[in-house]
Symmetry: C2
Subunit: 220 residues, 2 copies
């Protein structure tokens, strides 16, 4: 009875659950469409709610802020899976390699939904306030990675300099962000996995070129 085209639909739960899930998704897709068409700032919550025939008050029962209709939910879920994967790496595996492995295995499932991610990113990049919110999400990710890495080091018996930990986590974020940006910039850039490998390897190898002249110091 709960089959569709031979694909089993997930458990029907209750009528309430289904209705909730349906309006939540309706709000998200209506919001994305309106944001793409007329921009984030020029779309009011009233517009989104009206498109779903729902009161504005109800919108805020599903999403704490207007931004969260675009940024929330699945991002955090994936982040948690990544952190779990990082924590599960063998204790004697070096931190950077563990980070690299966790990120790579997480982003493999991104590969097939470039379209959707690109659409969402386009809205975010075009809206300063959304860029800010996204940055804040990433910062939370950084802090969590620092925590997990500190745990790993503690468990392995190494002292774990806090500066080193922050540099590791921050470098991981930078590698991820740079690779995703390149990946979304055009299909010619290659696969996300390949770009990620390049980014992580480049940072691992170090940033100092073999040789060069000494830099000048500040004037006065």
């Amino acid at each position: 009875m709960w089959h569709n085209m031979g694909v089993t639909i997930e458990a029907p739960e209750s009528l309430r659950e289904r209705k909730k899930a349906r309006t939540q998704e309706a709000l998200q897709s209506a919001a994305l469409e309106l944001f793409q068409r007329q921009g984030f700032e020029h779309t009011t919550v009233e517009d989104i709610a009206a498109a779903c025939e729902v009161s504005p008050r109800t919108f805020f029962r599903y999403f704490p802020t207007k931004s969260d209709v675009l940024l929330g939910s699945d991002v955090e879920e994936r982040r948690d899976r990544m952190l779990a994967l990082l924590a599960a790496q063998p204790a004697n595996c070096p931190a950077w390699a563990a980070l690299r492995a966790a990120v790579l295995s997480l982003t493999q499932e991104y590969e097939h939904e470039r379209e959707r991610i690109a659409a969402r990113m386009a809205v975010i990049e075009a809206t300063p306030s959304l860029r800010a919110t996204k940055s804040e999400y990433q910062r939370g990710w950084d802090d969590a990675v620092v925590e997990v890495l500190a745990d790993r080091a503690r468990r392995a018996g190494a002292p774990a300099d806090p500066l080193t930990l922050r540099l590791l986590a921050g470098a991981g974020t930078v590698a991820l962000r740079a690779a995703v940006d390149m990946w979304l910039a055009g299909p010619k850039s290659g696969s996300l996995t390949q770009l990620l490998r390049e980014a992580f390897d480049e940072l691992a190898a170090g940033l100092e070129p073999p040789t060069g002249r000494r830099p000048v110091t500040a004037p006065r």
Copy 2:
């Protein structure tokens, strides 16, 4: 006539200019004090304006948003000076060394105002929306650094892979942020200059430890 304790006061400009500068500074310090006492979110623009005996409407003539009273102006000025310094590095100086030199010479003047920076940072760290705005500022810095580095590479005749450029700029931001965080965490951490040197050197040397076991890949 415009001397005070033997120190020459800057040009008096006009009466209007002086009044403007005075109320702007008054708004900033009143805002900081109120933010520290009762938090950013629980301080209304009306509060700040009332503390300076000014209408709320006037507040927004000095600062486009409530956040900008804490984050604006001098941050951008210092950023521009840093970018100019980076652009002025010799063309054959490797990018990472140039970045390091520019950041180090910029932050030397921070060394003596730890108190003020720490106070401001405490408010920012305690307020998610301010953390987000700060992250957005830093992102703008990243983009500008990428631009300058691309210019340098173009001028030097090198191809300049965009991924490498982003990694360099991002790594610079990470080093700066990590060092400043450590510096503000406690006076025992040492001078900011020393912390910055450590951070830049550590990233330059690379993140891969000599050896270790291979990481595991993702399940399923």
